[in-house]
Symmetry: D2
Subunit: 377 residues, 4 copies
Amino acid sequence: MTDKPRLRICLIGSGFMGKAHAFGYTMAARVFDLPYALEFHTLVDISDAAAQRAADALGFAHAATDWKAAVANPEIDLVSITAPNALHKEMALAAVAAGKHVYCEKPLAPLASDALEMAEAAEDAGARTQVGFNYLCNPMVALAREMIASGELGEILGYRGLHAEDYMADPTGSFTFRHDPAGGGALADIGSHALATAEFLMGPAAGPIKTVMGDCVTMIRERPDGKGGIRKVEVDDIGRAFLRFSNGATGSIEGNWIATGRKMQHAFEVFGTRGALAFNQERFNELHFYATDDPHGRQGFRRIEAGPEHAPYGLFCVAPGHQLGFNDLKAIEVAGFLEAIAEMRPEPYNFRMGLRIQTLVETIQVSSREGRWLAVT
Amino acid sequence: MTDKPRLRICLIGSGFMGKAHAFGYTMAARVFDLPYALEFHTLVDISDAAAQRAADALGFAHAATDWKAAVANPEIDLVSITAPNALHKEMALAAVAAGKHVYCEKPLAPLASDALEMAEAAEDAGARTQVGFNYLCNPMVALAREMIASGELGEILGYRGLHAEDYMADPTGSFTFRHDPAGGGALADIGSHALATAEFLMGPAAGPIKTVMGDCVTMIRERPDGKGGIRKVEVDDIGRAFLRFSNGATGSIEGNWIATGRKMQHAFEVFGTRGALAFNQERFNELHFYATDDPHGRQGFRRIEAGPEHAPYGLFCVAPGHQLGFNDLKAIEVAGFLEAIAEMRPEPYNFRMGLRIQTLVETIQVSSREGRWLAVT
Amino acid sequence: MTDKPRLRICLIGSGFMGKAHAFGYTMAARVFDLPYALEFHTLVDISDAAAQRAADALGFAHAATDWKAAVANPEIDLVSITAPNALHKEMALAAVAAGKHVYCEKPLAPLASDALEMAEAAEDAGARTQVGFNYLCNPMVALAREMIASGELGEILGYRGLHAEDYMADPTGSFTFRHDPAGGGALADIGSHALATAEFLMGPAAGPIKTVMGDCVTMIRERPDGKGGIRKVEVDDIGRAFLRFSNGATGSIEGNWIATGRKMQHAFEVFGTRGALAFNQERFNELHFYATDDPHGRQGFRRIEAGPEHAPYGLFCVAPGHQLGFNDLKAIEVAGFLEAIAEMRPEPYNFRMGLRIQTLVETIQVSSREGRWLAVT
Amino acid sequence: MTDKPRLRICLIGSGFMGKAHAFGYTMAARVFDLPYALEFHTLVDISDAAAQRAADALGFAHAATDWKAAVANPEIDLVSITAPNALHKEMALAAVAAGKHVYCEKPLAPLASDALEMAEAAEDAGARTQVGFNYLCNPMVALAREMIASGELGEILGYRGLHAEDYMADPTGSFTFRHDPAGGGALADIGSHALATAEFLMGPAAGPIKTVMGDCVTMIRERPDGKGGIRKVEVDDIGRAFLRFSNGATGSIEGNWIATGRKMQHAFEVFGTRGALAFNQERFNELHFYATDDPHGRQGFRRIEAGPEHAPYGLFCVAPGHQLGFNDLKAIEVAGFLEAIAEMRPEPYNFRMGLRIQTLVETIQVSSREGRWLAVT
């Protein structure tokens, strides 16, 4: 029925992000004219029962618990890693060693040194890689990037980024793996999204972030350990940073997981000499745009609603205003990666970029501890 | 891999709504634990090429151009009709005659008399049916309905509904099938959504709409006929109505396809003695709720963001604030219908309801012509 | 210090609107270069104590309880009437008979027949008159009117107006003078604002409202009479109307005083072939404007914030975004009236216009009772 | 007519803030039951003509150009200083030396050392003083402060403040006194408002700001000097800071005068363990409040609209939703100061507080230059 080459997927994990990957592959295959015919080959989870249940639900032909065997299976072309963060490295290294392409959830690894090893291994092996940054694939964010890059906003005067949620705002909530001193904390967990968006948007016009000044704070210093005791928390609940981009543009970001009431405040404002943009993932099918050359008395932020003129929205829906959902963003993410595998375009957000974001996170953390500006190397 | 009974689908049409159906089936199969294993059997379109292309893209095993043969095919269990409105009746009657379940896009038929024939045929044949009302499956609309029905808002004092878009606002746009005097016009095309939402929300508390007073107006009286000539337009560009519900509650709706700038203003406000709700499909992952028993000085409309506590949002995403998209609403619609086919629940919006909405539309149109209130029979 | 002619004011009433008049005169005298030096001469209230207290607070030289004497006093030039509605007529007739100019709160009179008598008496006497419509003086509403009148929105395709509040939403609230069958009800009380705004905005482009179809409903049919008994309510809680303007443009309005949670939902949307506007008094320093000639992919409603380019905002504040308050709107209203008294401009909203709005209200009420369209005479 | 003691005012300056003071006194005298009868005695401006024109317009009995004589005049009780910033010190010192109370626009002085001298002189002289922070008198900000102080939000976890406008965003705009290295820059000019709000809100619960880390940047490095040449700009266009409050709470602020499109983005968000608040001066009659103890599935930020339950709103208007304007905030500011003069309450924002804010500004500036955290002394 189709003569596209097939691409056989192994998905590790079937929780929040495991499902999101599966949904992303599923919708991508229907919405886009992908370069591959996708085969949902093997789903790996922690027990036979969980793996089989998830394989059935998500449409995978095989269920497995031994991720090493699955990753080594010559029938697999692409491995999606959504296991706990601590396992990302070992899994990814095994997958690229076995000649697979790898799509790994963020954070790529708890430490930048690990991420570097992963990026280099992938590059040496010629693997295509992707890190799941979720929010960068939004057509309205792509529009923002294009407007900044093209000069439509003039020279960029300032940037303000934010990712705030409240899933750790309850002081009685238990200590989790996200509080692990190795790689945990709000800055790493969601501040990383704010950093990824900042460089994604500003990069073409302003170059990468050159120096940072961090402010990482722990507000809830103890949490129940789930076993009746109390455990000290050392990672940041809020991670803030001042930013300098290569061309001298400046900005700030904040990652905050104790922002009571906020569920998805991934937001930015960017100001240029000719215009400005404001965006909030809380209403992510909108981009607010101010143009200084609008007529006198008629100026104001205009609420641009996503529509077919903002590719690839039109592939999901031919009429404007109907809106994409979060899982649709994952489908766009998948499609971009598959095109990169097919060498139709560079990798949108590969391990090298995952390393970059992790490096930014760690440089901000060190800067915060040392109370001084640091160059990002 | 699964022992669910299979359900074999024939999809007629692959345009805007054809794709939405296909996406809906696809996502429903992944997101929900459906009572059936879905088989994407046959896609019917207007030419071999179009049908084959769409079948490949949307994952159907067979492509066809002869809808009659497809509908009669004993291998088919369910027929999805997204062909032009004028064909809905013939297709649906053939499908139910062949023992199929039918999922038909709205409007069910250009005329209520046709819709009645379809509803009766389906009921006689024991077919399960569904009409695609798109916006009713939104978890936030379900929440609104539940709040109204449960008395959380107190006694309902007033309702205001709206569906406004601008796809016909350009006077130079051509005459299309939507301008056809038989069944066309803004009230039938999108005012029907406002009516469906009004009865869906208010029904449990206030009963069905009992009488209506219509105001249907044609503002752009001529349009290019696409062949160099001009064609007179007789259908309404705006259809308004005053409403009386069975329990005496009152309200109004407007359907408007010349609302410049509006892409998806499907909105309602409902006021009760203990609270109020405001909703707009422009930001459909939110419901605004005012509670009179909030403390003095702390009252206000609160913006409830969709989350896992608003089923079935949690099946799509375990974290709040991530948002559903339009195609996700279609997946929820599909899931509800499949459960109805499996006799796990009544049909959510069957042909009888499609007839009901068409009856409301026509009664409003006649009321408008006659300039007087009419009972809805 | 100034050689402006003086204008001596008598204010009747010192409640909600009495204060608003006093504040309006006070600020107008500071903000505008008025044609007159205002003298706050006499304040009339119901008792000596109340009158003296209000005179002291609001800066009037004299306090009085005998409005007839005050109105007849040759030292008075202008009478501001903010007494209960039922007294408007007698007071206004006495004032114009005594050669005064009159600024009367709305509704001008309970019945159009009274308003007509008042308008004619004023015209015969050569008095300048004004009715306090509050919301029409907003610079953003003036901007909207200008954009409609100038053709900036193209041909007008539709209008939707609303004035909803919740001060009668509590069914246990007592019967008041506002429930009086002679002149009471939501349509008269606040729907009149929606009507005034509709004609104010649309008039220059579409002419006056020509025919109406009304829907006036009483939802809370009994209220405590304040003396331990129950009193039947016959006036409308919600008054809706379909509208036809002289040039064929159409629209609707709603006045609603049982709109739980709404404090000041005086809103409109107007759609034209080249653009659209949306406004809500809840955020009355903003006007939302959609322009169809914005570039493709950059279209959206833009939020214009009030600034010095929207006269007379700049007289209140030289910087944009600082915002006017409700009492500032009254100051603008006052200034316009004083300019009319000085014959620098026509009366902005005189008794004839008060009559007009009352006529619209009554025609809608009769139309509702008779269930048919009526011409507005 | 009244036996209140009189208070005789001398206003220096009649520009933006001069008018705002005059309007504030005017409305305060009508709206509040002030402890004094205000006399608008002398208006001082730069020329006889300007002074006379302003005195006439703003209702002052006398016009003058010699501010020293005016300030020394024994008939004056209170001096309002709205002259250029560079003159604040000399004027204020002269006024307190002459035994007057002083209401001075912000910034109190270009340098903290000057502000200290002024504060000490005032305290030595027993003068009552006030600095015009504009935004702190808003009833909704007072409500926010009360909610934070009372523990209604629980323990405070984070604060984010902002004051962004765009009046310096045009790179072709000329060099002005605001660019003067002594005291100029965005942080001093409007970042000071963000700092004042931060301490005003957080103070009762978290104590004063203890340490800061600044980031002050100049983006537009040259401006026309207005004489055909170019002048180098050394002051900051954006001033950012991380903040530590005395109790360990943390936050950030930004002052930004090149925020294209922003006219009055004076905003804050504050997050506590039991609730959160969000505010924006762009819609300053609203406060958004999230309460964690709202029922499951009904949580969300609620938009509280200003009303009579938020004192002193009710003195301006007895009905909710009508809204205060900027000049009304000045009236509230005036009233508070007059009550402090009458020893009915402490000074709300005296010179000591002006000094405090200036100290914060300068500490942030030094911190920025030195690239390290500094204690605020």
